[in-house]
Amino acid sequence: MAHQILVHAMTSGDTTTVEALVKHPMDSGFVKNAAGKIIPAHYIEVIEFTHQGKVVLTGYWGPAVSKNPFIKFSFKGGKSGEPIGVSWVDNKGETATTSSNIM
């Protein structure tokens, strides 16, 4: 599956911890392929996490973020069963969105 986002959100007390693994090549534009040609830059520019219609984190990523990026953060609030939305747009205009319920 091309644009896959795995999200795992868990609540403990008043804090919800979100872990996300995003499938993306994150090509920096500096790497050459086997034929010696530069692989064009292809990376996620903006990733956004939402909870109950509110943005809880906006990430601006550059080509120096690793392939298949992983991110972990936490925010106050969030109850078990409520959805966390994750979406991104890359430098080619491709997008992906997903939503996962807090455990």
Binding site: H8, V31, L57, Y60, V65, K67, F70, F73, A96, S99
Partner: protein, 168 residues
């Protein structure tokens, strides 16, 4: 008229059931931890992307482009966690934690990379200023975590030795 499975037309009711079953199967097989929630998630807009900050080659120029300030003084309130030696520069776990209030933004810089800024975050009220992620380091470099709080910048840095470069 065929459905997504290429089978012949079926009654509307049966189609609904099949689609629901297929969606459920896809969810449970492909994304084991993900369910399709009713709330629609829309893709973010790239119009606020700080492209200028991502193309700077020095720490001062990056901070100027991103935050309008040329320096981020070191602060003991910012904790940066990165390995001493990164065997694989393509995947270096970096995390930061700031013990300050009213944090609005954060960034991770690697001044020896082709472009200094690796990533930046906008941190709204209620979100903890502690984020873990993985970045690429082209060669041995200082890694800087910059925190913006109350309009001021502060930072923590650490030298990371890279055995195998991850940028090219």
């Amino acid at each position: 008229m065929t459905d997504s499975f290429g089978s012949p037309p079926v009654s509307a009711k049966r189609r609904t059931i099949l689609t629901a079953v297929a969606a459920g199967a896809a969810a449970s097989f492909v994304l084991p931890r993900t369910t399709f929630a009713a709330a629609a998630v829309t893709a973010p807009s790239a119009k606020d992307y700080p492209m200028k900050a991502f193309t700077q080659k020095t720490e001062a120029a990056t901070l100027q482009a991103m935050y309008g300030k040329s320096a981020a003084p070191a602060s003991s309130d910012v904790k940066l966690d990165a390995p001493d030696i990164a065997e694989n520069g393509a995947v270096v776990p970096v995390s930061f934690d700031a013990n300050v209030k009213n944090v609005t933004g954060a960034a991770i810089l690697a001044p020896s990379n082709p472009f200094t800024m690796a990533c930046a975050y906008k941190i709204p009220a209620g979100t903890n200023p502690a984020i873990s992620s993985r970045v690429k380091l082209g060669k041995t470099t200082k890694v800087v975590a910059v925190i913006e709080a109350d309009g001021k910048l502060m930072s923590a840095s650490k030298q990371v030795k890279v055995t195998l470069g991850g940028c090219g």
